[in-house]
């Protein structure tokens, strides 16, 4: 468990906030989105130097050894600033899966470089249906002499075109296991999938007799732990983005004048804003409580993580969508940032499983407890 106290946590958040306020502004985001790689390598370096990429990496391997609460807060900032690039993939998915494994060798080899940003890694999880469930894993691993051979398809691989190292989740025997594969290795065909949110790059990867090195102990339990952390990180990103679009919108309705008064003076708009505030606050509460439950291993962790997963996804989608309506014509222009948030919201709403899945999981967890 993380030994970081609340004050230190806030300090990490504040410095990340300052960094993004300086070099992750809207213009920077748009520039990154327009590049082939999809992110800004200079900002990536700075994020690494700040220790953000090593937050979830144990101190033994050059990281900070923080946990769910820290990553949740940091992701709120990333969401607000619409950060582009492989933070989620490398800094959350890959870093946590390796950390949860028992493979000291792989940790020593991979984690320091992931933390320093020199190596970008991601985890290939789901198949073509994009459900991020164990049954949706569509890569199979079989023993081949001393090593393993991988066949099948992983899709919607986040940062799939940006990562050097792929941690591929595959069916091996009766369960799931994880294999390290180089993106450029023989038998690995990576196809970039054009994304609607240009700040996130997905790939479909076909494995044909690709050789993979097993990561010891990155088994089903470790994968599930990684996914829980990813859900909390994503919920944080969504909650942060939601609050940011909301604040931007409230600012606008205070200043835009029609019929001789700020449009926020009309009850139609004022009431919309009031209703949305419930969603904004609920998203923040859900994300932070889920982070805390996960960090402390509380018994209702599954309930809270599932709750955060759909509440934050839905809040972000709803508020980004309503924000455009509340802006009127200006919200329909590409120059205005509102649509960038809606694009992000639509993508985030699918990542690691959609809201229906989590509502179901939430209720099942409550039923179990009842």
């Amino acid at each position: 468990m993380s030994t970081i106290n609340a004050e230190e946590r806030q300090a990490i958040r504040d410095s990340f906030h300052r960094l993004l306020a300086e070099t992750g502004r809207e213009a920077d985001v748009r520039r990154a989105m327009a590049t082939d790689s999809g992110f800004d390598p200079v900002l990536w370096r700075a994020i690494a130097d700040m220790g953000i990429l090593g937050l979830l990496i144990p101190a033994d391997f050059g990281g900070i050894g923080a946990g769910a609460e820290e990553i949740e807060l940091v992701m709120e900032e990333a969401g607000a600033a619409l950060l582009c690039g492989p933070l989620m993939s490398s800094g959350v998915l890959a870093a946590s899966l390796l950390s949860y494994s028992s493979d000291e060798h792989a940790k020593a080899r991979l984690l320091p470089a992931i933390g320093s940003g020199e190596r970008i890694a991601t985890v290939a999880i789901t198949g073509d249906r994009g459900l991020w469930t164990p049954t949706d894993v569509s890569v199979t691993a079989v023993r081949d002499g001393d090593g393993w051979r991988l066949d099948g398809v992983a899709s919607f691989v986040t940062a799939g075109t940006q990562a050097d190292t792929l941690l591929v989740i595959a069916k091996a025997g009766s369960g799931l296991a994880t294999f390290e594969v180089d993106r450029g290795a023989a038998g690995v065909a990576v196809t970039a999938l054009k994304s609607f949110d240009r700040g996130q790059r997905f790939a479909r990867i076909v494995f044909a007799s690709a050789s993979g090195a097993p990561i010891e102990g990155a088994n089903e339990a470790a994968i599930e732990k990684m996914l829980d952390l990813a859900r909390v990180a994503l919920a944080g990103e969504q909650a942060g983005a939601t609050r940011h679009v909301f604040d931007m919108t409230v600012e606008y309705i205070k200043t835009r004048v029609q019929f001789g008064r700020p449009i926020g003076g009309f009850q139609a708009i004022k009431h919309m804003a009031a209703d949305l505030l419930i969603e904004v606050e609920s998203a923040t509460s859900a994300a932070r409580h889920a982070a805390r439950a996960l960090a402390e291993g509380m018994p209702d962790t599954e309930v809270l993580v599932s709750l955060a997963a759909f509440v934050c996804a839905d809040a972000f989608s709803q508020i980004a969508a309503t924000s455009i309506q509340m802006h009127g014509g200006i919200g329909f222009t590409a120059e205005h940032p509102a649509h960038l948030y809606l694009r992000r919201a639509r993508a985030d709403a699918q990542l690691f499983g959609n809201s229906s899945l989590y509502r179901e999981r939430y209720l099942s967890a409550l039923e179990k407890a009842a």
Binding site: D197, F266, Q325, F332
Partner: protein, 397 residues
């Protein structure tokens, strides 16, 4: 002419001229829409309810519908413009005869297109706060000011323009309505990029742009009334769901949520079934409402019921996009020509705002319904009765 004679005339004419299989004219070598519109216009099918002296047949609504059914039966366009062509209808009702002679045939045959120069940076929902000015200069008007969000401005031949002609009258009472020729040196059009990736709308700068005196519609300072008619046509068309599809999209205009769900393999999912049923019902109910409203609406009058259609359509389009996103699931994060389904759904999700913002926002439609249909008290509005010059909308130097 009896109903049966009329039906026969229309169906025989269509059989001779319209290739129902190829969906184009049998005679026009290009097979383009313009050629077909010219043919229907020459044969007087375009504007059936209009008087004979103005290119119509003076048919009562029930008979016009008979012809429209014949056209619909073979999938032919080119009729019904007496309901759907905003510029032509507004011109017919309020234009001076010489202008009507000059422009109506060109609009009805698709030779000329038009745009709507209403919104300004400071006057969107509050259109009557507009500050573009028209000043009389002999037998013409000189126009100065800026318009924004003007759809189709880059290619339009004429603009339907509202501009202020009396600064001492209250805001609604000093506005006049003009048809302004767009291709002139006093007009600069700067395209804006839309969230959908299109550049259909533009900023329009008017710098001593010229309007001939004969292009005034209705009376001077009575433009607000003309505008209400024009807006009613626009909302009518939007209420029927015009232009909801992405250009070159793979899915035909009558989207089938059922077909999509089958294709995605989720048609048996009980939650998705509920969603689809609700979305399809919204669409069907709107069609039923509009059908009833149209039957009740006298020709050429503006009916507030039509505002209901536009508001309903806004919900339909947003809800369709939501359900389609659910059906597609993770694929909805994709875009581009290789992912036509995703590209189409994403386009729809964004383009739905054209209907919920354009032509008067949903919030404004609700106000109109509340005030004009239900007769609820009007929102209190500052400066409504003040001379415009003294209102807050005019910056004081």
């Amino acid at each position: 002419m009896t109903d049966e004679e009329l039906r026969l005339e229309a169906s025989e004419w269509l059989a001779r001229n319209w290739d129902a299989r190829a969906r184009k004219s049998k005679y026009d070598p290009d097979g383009g829409l313009k050629g077909w519109l010219k043919q229907t216009f020459d044969a007087r099918w375009s504007v059936l309810r209009w008087p004979e002296e103005w290119y119509g047949r003076g048919l009562p609504d029930e008979q016009a519908k008979i012809v429209e059914q014949e056209f619909a039966r073979v999938g032919a366009t080119g009729t019904g413009l007496d309901r759907s062509h905003l510029a032509a209808n507004t011109l017919l009702t309020f234009g001076q005869d010489a202008l009507k002679r000059e422009l109506l045939p060109k609009f009805l045959t698709g030779q000329y297109t038009n745009c709507l120069l209403y919104s300004e940076p400071g006057a969107g929902s509050d259109l009557a706060a507009l500050r573009a000015r028209a000043d009389r200069d002999g037998d013409r008007w000189l126009i100065n000011g800026q318009k924004v969000w003007t759809s189709g401005a880059a290619t339009a031949d004429y603009g339907l323009l509202i501009a202020r002609t009396d600064w001492d009258a209250p805001k609604h009472k000093g506005i006049s309505f003009f048809f302004i020729p767009m291709k002139q040196k006093g007009i600069e059009v700067r395209p804006l990029h839309q969230i959908t990736g299109d550049s259909h709308f533009s900023e329009v700068f008017l710098d001593n742009a010229v309007v001939p005196a004969g292009n005034l519609l209705g009376k001077e300072n009575d433009g607000w009334k003309v505008l209400q008619t024009a807006l009613a046509y626009e909302r009518l068309v939007m209420g029927e769901g015009a232009g909801e599809r992405r250009q070159g999209s793979s899915i035909d205009n009558k989207i089938s949520l059922i077909a999509m769900a089958r294709e995605a393999g989720c048609i048996d999912d009980p939650c998705i079934r509920q969603d689809i049923a609700r979305a399809l019902a919204y669409r069907q109910l709107n069609a039923l409402n509009l059908q009833r409203a149209k039957a009740e609406m006298a020709q050429g009058t503006s009916s507030p019921i039509m505002s209901l259609g536009k508001l309903a359509m806004s919900r339909i389009l947003h809800e369709d996009a939501r359900v389609m996103t659910t059906i597609l699931g993770a694929s909805s994060v994709l875009d581009g020509a290789e992912h036509p389904r995703a590209a189409d759904v994403n386009y729809r999700a964004f383009n739905a705002y054209m209907t919920s913002i354009g032509g008067g926002t949903d919030q404004i439609q609700r106000n109109i319904i509340g005030e004009r249909v239900l007769g609820l008290p009007r929102e209190v509005e500052l400066n409504r009765d003040l001379p415009f010059r003294e209102s807050l909308a005019v910056p004081k130097s």
